[in-house]
Every structure is written in structure tokens, then in C-alpha cells.
Subunit: 466 residues, 2 copies
């Protein structure tokens, strides 16, 4: 089993693979716009054909929304390592936005300055193409893939994957795997590969405080009725203490403390205070006492106001007592906080902080568990080695401050950890005009996948022999 | 000096006076709409002519906006009581709003059910007409008015009297008087006359809290930067304690405590809890501990949020840290709180409550002193008697929870207290469609003014003799 033969095939046929990527990028697979429903179907079929040409049994499966492409290389021949990888990706893209801001048309891929510019080039078609190219190169040099490989390529990532959880639960047996592999994440910078091993969870709430049945004249009634604006402010204020800790009862109970090793890692790879201020424009860093900036934004749970509304918002002054005030508030969770438990504790804290002089309604939006994977699993070790060998330097292990609902979904339903092999640079204009994918990362990324396949197969075989 | 002769003249010519009121009501004197500038001038001239026909020296004086009608009966002949009354009123009206909601055209006065329906009938042309009619009836039966009488009838009350303070300061000598008399206030109910002796002051602020230079992803940075929404909520919450008291340092220092008599009066004439809930739709009464509902809404200082804005206000969820959050907050003041001092104390309290992790800007809007008049002055006594004799029951003494900037203005510049002889009913559709003025109040109101003139002249003469 020689990975270098497969790499040589890639190098020889690289321009053909790049042409395939350009074909992939020409599909206007914009999931949020119904006029592109046909483009979505054509794009899904194209992905299926690519997988079929790598010898996988590939099919386009319907959902209530856009279809999912599912493929399976089938049971491994006896004697081969019994390990299954599930490659996740998405073929849908964000709308291009204002066309005038693009230097070349978003769906007419253009090569310049060592990168391919097009909508979806970085998110996620370029990275998906490295997966597809790797499978084809391997199969041109080997009778079988070295482990069992499955693909799930969805068409609704950019609209929040509304049908994915149902699909995964329904097809749990077909999707069963040891690891999920995805490349829908960034490197630390152009030269430093990254392997994210955790992301935060999310509980999102909307609180509506109703007081008088209509806006009142603040002179006529001010002082004698509860003002929903003042009450809402007091509720929000009650949710933090002076040390930046969330006061909700039991909020930190299930939080897994950071290990010294994790803290060292974050100190090394996370933003420092100066970088934070430069990127956010905030006047000063702040947050939970006892934690560094990097720990605060990705490894500790938080509670943030996302929106405030109530009363008179126009120019000048209006002397009213608003009948209603609303706050959108979200919490980022870390392992092993349970979103259901946190959601309930939030409601209880808010109800306790709310006086009986107003009516309070709480609405639930997103609700997602945090995700954290062991950094010493065989899969993680193989991923680190593949990245290090291909990029010439080891990846940094990072935590995502944001929320990737698919990670806890795959963990919960399939019992599988995810390996986030990121090939795109952080400033690749994701969701913005002039999105691009560096050709260097196309070349190296494909090598990473090939080496990862070979590495994890070797490792598994050795483990089985031992 | 027989007031009954003047009353008899009114009764005899009442229909002619009513026709004059209808003429007054036909002017489309809408101060906020520039296409009515000519109507405003014609209306001012008509008021001037009415005053001239009562023997006053009347003139239309320009301001930077709509003109003021000023009139003066001149020095009293020797032997007459040396007392001067300044009658205040306004000839401008609110826009009519949606014409389809009017049962008869707003500028075509219509008599039905014992009332005249038209825009401005209650606010303030009907009451002003009682003043004009009283002067003319007196002069038809007497060679002179019984005291010196001046009139100031402005054309910008409905747009906040922007030019009145300057006008009053500039013409302070001409306007000098012992009492200001106005009827731009309501009775307690249809049968009970009211005499308001106090109104609250106002300090209006807008706080802008700026954090990051742009909205941030709450996953990416949440926990590491100050969230303007959370900070603003904490600032607002810090301004009240658990007993409903405002925590601003020195806020209550200059508050004149309510006397037992005032508290008894408010218990008698103010809204009770059940009435408050019915009128406001609030779930429960609340406010500063140790005070009744009626005391809270008109006799105690308050602090209310008037508006809240920040971050995502649309449907559903958006996980952002808003770069900015804004609150409009106003305080109602009572005597002798100094708006300048309260304004400064508010700024200091807010700055203290605001962490250095955000930027805070405070904008000032309205700024008005509270007003409270002695209830035992000769003018007040004469007003009580005139109302009692004309309505057949004594007036209730009330405090206005709202703010009437002209009262402290006249007090400050002219040293004169105001007498608020209100003739309109509370539900007269002020500022709404189908505004009306009851003919009974037109008849009784004119008697009140005549009896008040006679009474205060008598009283002053007796005091001078004593």
C-alpha cells in the first residue's frame, strides 16, 4: 500500500482535478433560494457521479428539503483493517450578495494569485474536492480503499441543516462509522494547519416582558406601574455577578475544567489581548475572572445579550412607559453542560428575578450541546501526523468558540468523534464577496487526506495485530 | 361692581359667543404643518381683534416661529386694586389625523349631544373663548376690567413651545403679573371641577453604550469582550434599589415631603389601585415603598426607561454581540429638585456604573423643573370660590404627574404662580378624532372667569383696606 503512488497520480492529473473543482463551482447551488432547486439537484448528482467514479456505491437521497448525497465503499475485504470513516461535507453555498463587490463572477471560477475565486470555493466545495480527488487517486493505484469509506454530503448546511438530524437518525445504521472526517474549518493561519477538537454548545432564548396593555404616558403613570424596560434590565443584570460569572443556579456544575495542558495550548495558539482588541475594536478585554482571553472566548461558558427592543426607538424623546420589552439572550456551553438542564435553569433564574408586576414569556430557539473530542484517540493521532507530514509542521489543536451542531449530532447518534482537518485560511472571504481557496491548500489538502487514509489504515492494522 | 350683570350679558348673548367660538374653530391653525402658516396668522389676528373688542391693547408679536398674541388692559385707574392677571392660552391645534375617524369634519364645528365637536374645541380654543367672552361681558357692564388683565396666547404649544421661553424672558416687563391664569387642564370628572397646583419636572437622557466596533459573532468572541447590551442592562438596573427607590446620589435631597394634608387629598381624589390597573392594564401596582399609588404617579420622583435598542431585533435568532446598545431614560421630578443638579447626578451615577470596557455617551433632551404652588394663596382661594360657586361643588386640588414647562417658566421669569382653572372633561378626545367641548362647560367656565375676576378684585381691595 503505497500512498506516494496515489500522490503521484494526483500530481500528474492535478489540472484535471482542478477543472473538476471548477465544474463543481459553476453550479449555483444556493440552498436558501428556491429558484435554484434544480441547480441543487444537478450539483448533488454531479457529486454522486464523482463518488461513483471512485468506486463507491453512491446515491442521491431525498429529504424534506434539498437532497443528501450518500456513498459507501462497502465492507472491506477480509484481512483489511475493520475501520470506517464517514466524510462529511456540503455542496450548498451562500448567496453571492452584491455582484458589484466581486472582482470576477461568483459562479465563473477564476484562477489568480495562486487561488481559485468563486462562491463556495472555500466553503465547502474546495475542501470537498480534496476528499473526492483523494478517493479517485487512491482507487487508480489500489484495488480498494484502505478502510471502509462513507460520504454524506448535504445541501442545507448554509440554512442551518434543518433536515440533517432527522436524516442521520433515520439512516444511523448506514452511516455507522468510527470517525467523521470533515474539512469545513480553517487553519490557524496560512502556514499553520489546525485541528479543532472542541466547539461550544448553544442555548438561545427570547424573553418578553409585558407590563401595561398599551404604552403609557410616563408623566401620567410613571412610578406607579412596573416599567417592562426597567424590569428587563434588572433581569438581565441579575444573570452575571461582579466577577463576570453567570449566576444561574447550577450553570457551572457540569463544566469540565480545563487541564493545564489545554490552558498551555490555548495560551500558545489563542488570541492574546492585543489581538482581541485589534480584531473586535473593543476598548478593553474583559470576562470571567480567573481566565485568559483565549479561554474566555472558546473554552468557558458565556451568556450574551443578542438583541434588545422596547418602547421608543426613534429620534429625540418620547415620554412613554413601554408596554413591552424584549431581549434575545444566548448562552454558549462547554462540555459537559446539558442544554436541556441549562435551559431549565435559565428559565427558573429568570422567573425568580422577574417580579409579579409584569408578565414574562420565554421562547426557545437553538438548543445544542457542546462538543469536545479526546486529543489522543488513534484518529486524532493519524490526523495530526497526516497534517504534519503534508504541511511540514504539526497542526495546532484548537477549540472553536462557535457552535457546530453536526459534531454533537454525529457523536450522539453514531457514537463517533469528528476530525476537523481544516485546509482554508481564516481570511478566505467566507460568506463574503471574493471567496477563494488557495491552490496550495488544494494540493496539500488532497495529500493530507491520502496520508490520513494510509496512516489510519496502517495504525488500525498494527493495533489489530498487537 | 356687579358680576351678575356681566353674567346676564353672557346669557343674553351666549349664542353669539358660541358663533364666535365656531369661527375660532374654523381656522386650521395646525402649528406643526408649514402649509398652515397663513391660517396661523389669520387666527392670531382674530384673537387680537377679540381682545381689542374687550378694550385691551392687543397686538400680534412675531417670534422665530408662529406669532404670539399679547394684550394688556393697561394700568388700573387709581382706587382700583393693584393686581395683575396674565391669561395664558394657545390658538394652535394638533393635526386632525385620519379624517375617516371623525364623525363630522374637524374644522367644521358641529353641535350635537350638548357639545361642540371640532379639532381644538377642548384644547385650547373652547377654554380660551371663555376667557375672551368673560372680558367682553365685563366690559359691556363696566367701564374698566376690575383688575389689570394681560393675555399671552401662543401658537406653538402643540409643538413644545420652542420660542416661548425666549419670548417670555425678552418681554418679562410687559408680562409682569401677580398670577397666571390658564384653562388648559381638565376637571376631575364631568361633575367635579379641579384645580391643579403642581406638576412634575422632567430630565430626559439618552445613553449610548459602544463596545466592539462592529457586531461580533457571539461564538467567536462571546465571553472575552464586554457586551453593550449586558452593560446597559446593568447600568439601568443599578439605578433602582429593591424598594423601588432611585439610587442616584442625592436624588431625594431636595424633595419636599408631602404634608399629611396633601396625602389625605391625594387619597381622596387620586386613582386607587383598582382604577390604576383598569386604566393601564398592568398586572399589579408597584413603585416606591411607603407611598400610595396616587402619591407615586404624581407626587414622587421617578425614573423610567422610555426606549431600549440594540443588536438583533428581527424574527428568530441571530448570534451576535451588538456593537451598540441605547436606552432613553427619563426622570420625573418634584419640588424642589433642581433639574441641573439631578442631570449631573444622573450622569455621575451612570458613569460610575459603567465599566471601562465600553464607551458611554450621554445625550440630554428635555430639562424642566417641577412646579408646585401654595394652595392657600389669595389667588388660589379666589379660584376655589369661583369654581365652587359656578359648578355648585368645590374643586378638588390635584397634582399633575406630567410636565407643564410653562408653569415653572412663568414662576422663574415673572415670579408668578399659575392658577389652572380646568373646564374640560378628561375624556374629551384631546389630540384624538372627535374632540369636543361641552356647552355646559362653556357656560359655566365663562361664569367661573367672571366670578374669579370679581372675587379676586374684591379680595385684593379688602386686603389693601385692612
Amino acid at each position: 500500500m503505497s500512498v506516494e503512488a496515489a500522490v503521484a497520480v494526483f500530481d500528474a492529473k492535478r489540472d484535471a482535478f482542478l477543472a473538476d473543482l471548477e465544474t463543481f463551482l459553476r453550479f449555483e447551488s444556493i440552498s436558501t433560494q428556491s429558484e435554484h432547486t434544480q441547480d441543487m439537484q444537478h450539483c448533488a448528482s454531479w457529486v454522486r457521479d464523482q463518488l461513483a467514479s471512485a468506486g463507491l456505491d453512491a446515491q442521491v437521497l431525498p429529504t424534506a428539503g434539498h437532497p443528501v448525497v450518500f456513498a459507501d465503499s462497502g465492507p472491506v475485504p477480509s484481512g483489511q483493517p475493520a475501520l470506517t470513516l464517514l466524510f462529511y461535507g456540503h455542496y450548498d453555498v451562500q448567496p453571492p450578495g452584491d455582484l458589484k463587490l466581486w472582482n470576477s463572477p461568483p459562479f465563473d471560477p477564476t484562477i489568480r494569485d495562486g487561488a481559485v475565486y468563486a462562491r463556495g470555493s472555500a466553503d465547502d466545495k474546495g475542501p470537498v474536492m480534496t476528499h473526492l480527488a483523494a478517493m479517485r487517486c487512491w482507487r487508480e493505484t489500489h484495488p480498494h480503499l484502505p478502510v471502509r469509506v462513507k460520504f454524506i454530503t448535504e445541501g442545507e448546511e448554509e440554512i442551518g441543516s434543518p433536515n440533517l438530524p432527522g436524516f442521520v437518525r433515520e439512516h444511523a445504521d448506514q452511516l455507522s462509522c468510527d470517525y467523521v472526517v470533515l474539512s469545513d474549518s480553517t487553519k490557524l493561519d496560512a502556514d499553520t494547519p489546525a485541528l479543532a477538537y472542541a466547539c461550544r454548545g448553544l442555548v438561545y432564548k427570547e424573553m418578553t416582558v409585558d407590563g401595561p396593555s398599551h404604552d403609557l404616558h410616563s408623566g401620567q403613570y410613571g412610578g406607579a406601574v412596573a416599567n417592562p424596560g426597567n424590569v428587563l434590565a434588572a433581569i438581565i443584570a441579575s444573570l452575571h455577578d461582579a466577577k463576570g460569572k453567570v449566576t444561574i443556579f447550577g450553570f457551572y456544575d457540569d463544566v469540565v475544567p480545563l487541564t493545564d495542558k489545554e490552558r498551555e495550548l490555548l495560551a500558545e495558539v489563542g488570541l492574546n489581548d492585543a489581538q482581541l482588541l485589534e480584531r473586535t475594536g473593543s476598548p478593553a478585554p474583559t470576562g470571567e475572572h480567573g481566565y485568559s482571553t483565549a479561554e474566555r472566548y472558546c473554552a468557558r461558558p458565556t451568556l450574551d445579550v443578542n438583541g434588545l427592543t422596547g418602547g421608543y426607538a426613534g429620534e429625540g424623546a418620547a415620554t412613554i412607559i413601554p408596554s413591552r420589552a424584549i431581549a434575545k439572550v444566548s448562552m454558549r456551553l462547554v462540555a459537559h453542560q446539558d442544554p436541556a438542564r441549562i435551559s431549565k435553569a435559565f428559565d427558573e433564574a429568570v422567573r425568580q428575578a422577574c417580579p409579579p408586576t409584569v408578565k414574562l414569556a420565554i421562547k426557545n430557539y437553538a438548543h445544542c450541546r457542546a462538543y469536545v473530542a479526546p486529543t489522543d484517540s488513534p484518529g486524532m493521532q493519524a490526523a495530526i501526523k497526516a497534517l504534519a507530514d503534508s504541511y511540514g509542521r504539526p497542526p495546532v489543536l484548537t477549540r472553536e468558540g462557535g457552535t457546530l451542531p453536526i459534531l454533537p449530532l454525529f457523536k450522539e447518534v453514531l457514537g463517533a468523534d469528528s476530525l476537523l482537518l481544516g485546509f482554508i485560511v481564516p481570511d478566505c472571504n467566507l460568506h463574503s464577496p471574493n471567496e477563494f481557496f488557495c491552490l496550495r491548500d488544494f494540493d496539500i489538502g488532497t495529500r493530507v487526506i491520502l496520508r490520513f487514509l494510509a496512516g489510519i489504515a496502517d495504525q488500525t492494522a498494527r493495533a489489530n495485530q498487537a
